[in-house]
Amino acid sequence: MGLPMKIRATSKDGVTEVKVLMNHVMETGLRKDPSGELVPALFINEVTAKLNDKVVMQAQWGPAVARNPYLAFKVRGGKSGDKVSIAWKDTSGDTRTDEATII
């Protein structure tokens, strides 16, 4: 199971804004370690966002999303107390899902 991410979800005028900070190395496979060996690629390639158990966004990523990925998006609907969940899967098959309550 991957490392936890930080999710902040706020609702205003019927629109929920979600900001996510994930914890992941996002290795491109092009970086060399101090001994000169290539560090193998390891990056999040699938992301799913849900608002109250309904999928509202899905993403496919490559290795060039920055380390510790940041993501912000907005969804119509959702109100204080509702749930947002973000799930990711990486190229090793590791996964992580975290939930946040909308403020």
């Binding site: 629109v15 996002m26 491109t28 092009l30 970086r31 060399k32 560090v39 390639n45 699938e46 799913t48 608002l51 309904k54 999928v55 509202v56 966004m57 899905q58 993403a59 496919q60 990523w61 490559g62 290795p63 060039a64 999303v65 920055a66 380390r67 990925p69 940041y70 993501l71 912000a72 998006f73 907005k74 969804v75 119509r76 609907g77």
Partner: protein, 156 residues
């Protein structure tokens, strides 16, 4: 039946039960089509090849695709980008970095209630054009801006 047979049969049933549960979870199809990761598209090494892999013919340059990026990125490892589409029925927003080792960096499929705006952070290997590609009503639109990179961020 001896105990060893019982244990292995129990283990086998447990295993098939788990797979049964996993496949039934996959059958609960979400409203957004659960597309498998498009590995080929994420391995393309030029804008033309990336467009081809995504089935994009000639995206229309549009002022309605608003791409906000810094003019200069001190650190190519973390470059903030934001795309806002003013085009109705936008269903997908993608970011491409023309001179990266692989051009396509991220693709976002948006549900009907999701606003057509995405902010994220990308890695850039060197000074390059960044492209926001928008899909709306099955057609493709784009905007591009150059970001000067002081210190390249792909680790090469």
């Amino acid at each position: 039946m001896n105990l060893r047979y019982q244990a292995s049969r129990r283990g086998f049933l447990r295993l098939t039960g788990f797979f049964g549960l996993a496949t039934s979870a996959l059958a609960l199809a979400p409203r957004l089509a659960l597309a498998a990761w498009n590995k080929a598209a994420f391995e393309t090494k030029s804008l033309a090849d990336a467009y081809k892999a995504l089935g994009v013919e000639s995206p229309i340059a549009s002022g309605d695709v608003q791409l906000s990026v810094p003019e200069i990125a001190e650190n190519g490892a973390v470059v903030p980008v934001e795309a806002i589409s003013k085009i109705p029925n936008t269903t997908q927003i993608s970011f491409m970095v023309e001179k990266n080792p692989t051009t396509l960096t991220a693709q976002f499929d948006l549900g009907p209630d999701t606003l057509p705006e995405i902010s994220t952070r990308l890695k850039m290997a060197e000074t390059s054009n960044v492209i926001a590609l928008v899909k709306a009503d099955g057609k493709f639109y784009m905007a591009k801006k150059e970001i000067k990179v002081t210190l390249g961020g792909c680790g090469g």
